[in-house]
Point group: C2
Chain length 349, copies 2
Amino acid sequence: MDVRLALIGFGNVGKGVASLLHGEGERYRTEYGVRLVLTGVADQGGAAVNLEGLDGFNLLEAKKRHGTVAAARDGVQGLQGAHFLERAAAHVLLEAASTNFEDAEPGWTYVREALALKMDVVLASKGVLVLHYGHLMRIAMDRGARVLFSGTVGAPLPVLELADRVLVGAQISGFEGILNATSNYILSLMADGATYEESVRRAQELGIAETDPTLDVDGWDAAAKAAIVANAVMGAQLSLQDVEREGIRHVTPEMLSHARQEGQTLKLIARARRTAGGVSAQVVAERRPLADVLGRLQGAEMGIVYHTDPLGTVSATVQQVGGIPTALTVLRDVINLARDRGWSSPSQA
Amino acid sequence: MDVRLALIGFGNVGKGVASLLHGEGERYRTEYGVRLVLTGVADQGGAAVNLEGLDGFNLLEAKKRHGTVAAARDGVQGLQGAHFLERAAAHVLLEAASTNFEDAEPGWTYVREALALKMDVVLASKGVLVLHYGHLMRIAMDRGARVLFSGTVGAPLPVLELADRVLVGAQISGFEGILNATSNYILSLMADGATYEESVRRAQELGIAETDPTLDVDGWDAAAKAAIVANAVMGAQLSLQDVEREGIRHVTPEMLSHARQEGQTLKLIARARRTAGGVSAQVVAERRPLADVLGRLQGAEMGIVYHTDPLGTVSATVQQVGGIPTALTVLRDVINLARDRGWSSPSQA
């Protein structure tokens, strides 16, 4: 069937979603029996809406030339909020606005409005999840809506899918992971002798680090991911400030070279574990053996290790991230949702 | 809702299923909103059937004392085949008979009978999958039935789940893995200097290798898994004899020690890749760097590496297998199936 999508935010992730639907939509239709139709896109300047499906190429052109999708063929200046959602008549809201750890806006307002309309929600940004997790899930349950967010925790690393589909029937006592690729990239360069400043600059030149690398190098991004995973798979109710946090600014090439002499390295590890009081989470730059499943992750690689009973220790790593992973994981969530909802026809496989 | 299960075979896997339902059934009910009821079990001596649910403890006792579940409280001597399936009135057939690479019986007959009754099927043994894959999937599609088999390919390693739920939207160009834990255990002991014979004996003493280790050490098990994965995730139609195969009998401690001097080791690798003619698969004992994601797997560890576009290289490994993994993966398939079918109530998570 046709699954109508409304997209909030038209930055890298939003543009990636539009590009993928433009280029790969037909393949998704053949392979998964579901036609994904982008009926609305909103950014700070307004929105574009077309129930037959927006032209992704035209949206990208309008954004590039005029800075807003409101300038596209189906654009409406100033259209936002519930009015936008109602006109887009979507089955699923894709929330891909910039991550905002202060008040999670504008995502949080959009998400509540979408749930009020009984839309399902796919989140690409983390603000709502680390500030309003319990509230979000209560509203979703009341409304019978699904909320998916696999792209927020180290996509394409299968962090949430492992817990949801693979560790079924097992109990998760804790996890640890390298969930922030940027800080791991910087630490890897430093392990090869570069200074912290050189390493940050090189990561910025390659587009791996932002102009302001604070969220990555001070551990905020990893801490948000630790909270999200702990909430989603261990039943915790952690906010960002509940996560004990340190970053990598204090790490020196000398610390890394000393560690290496003992067969170890330094990694920024995000973890959570069950305690007497519930679930505690932390992000810490700590020594790991070089042969360890996390210790050996180089460059922009990421990894997750689940400790479970009775399945033992189950890990996943991503060796190499190509293309446009977050946009693709947003659509992965949509396709999995469509399958769970019975909206898709069975594929031939 | 109640999901009625009929189980074929009461060896290690079947007994594990009965034990888990006995011990953990209530937890599954709370956590996944689905009550799993074992209504029938058949072995070579007959069957036991009770629509209210069989007593797992009583089945285990009967099997231990009399060698067949037909001696249990609800037992019927000689009850088998379609008569058994009809009386068990199950939603799902669990096929856990001994793996038979000759003609896949008795599993293949049971599976066809179950599909004729529109039951879904969860396979724990590989015979049907490597001898009749195309036929099996055609019947299942005709009947609108689902066939799951995540326990056949290196459980609890998430081989099929990665492809199904995580690599959604990506294209898989190939995979390689260590999918046979026994041969990896033997190779690990040999890398530490033990002879082949000593290593096999130790693996047998620990219950890791069978009395007749042929299936493992000659690569049959790994080849079957390579065919199953290639069929399931790459659209291949390979039978067991289509897989180029070698084992580890020819490997010597000297070969491993030479490899180590060059930072390498020998591993039994199962792989498949797309070729001009379709998909080709092989099992080969080959050199891997010790730092490689597969090269570093020790003892009974297993791993899978998918090569994809555009998600890059996505891997999963299992560091330590505890408890009763295959039985648990059978129930994992059942729970995932129940969720896909809409038979389960949403959990609180």
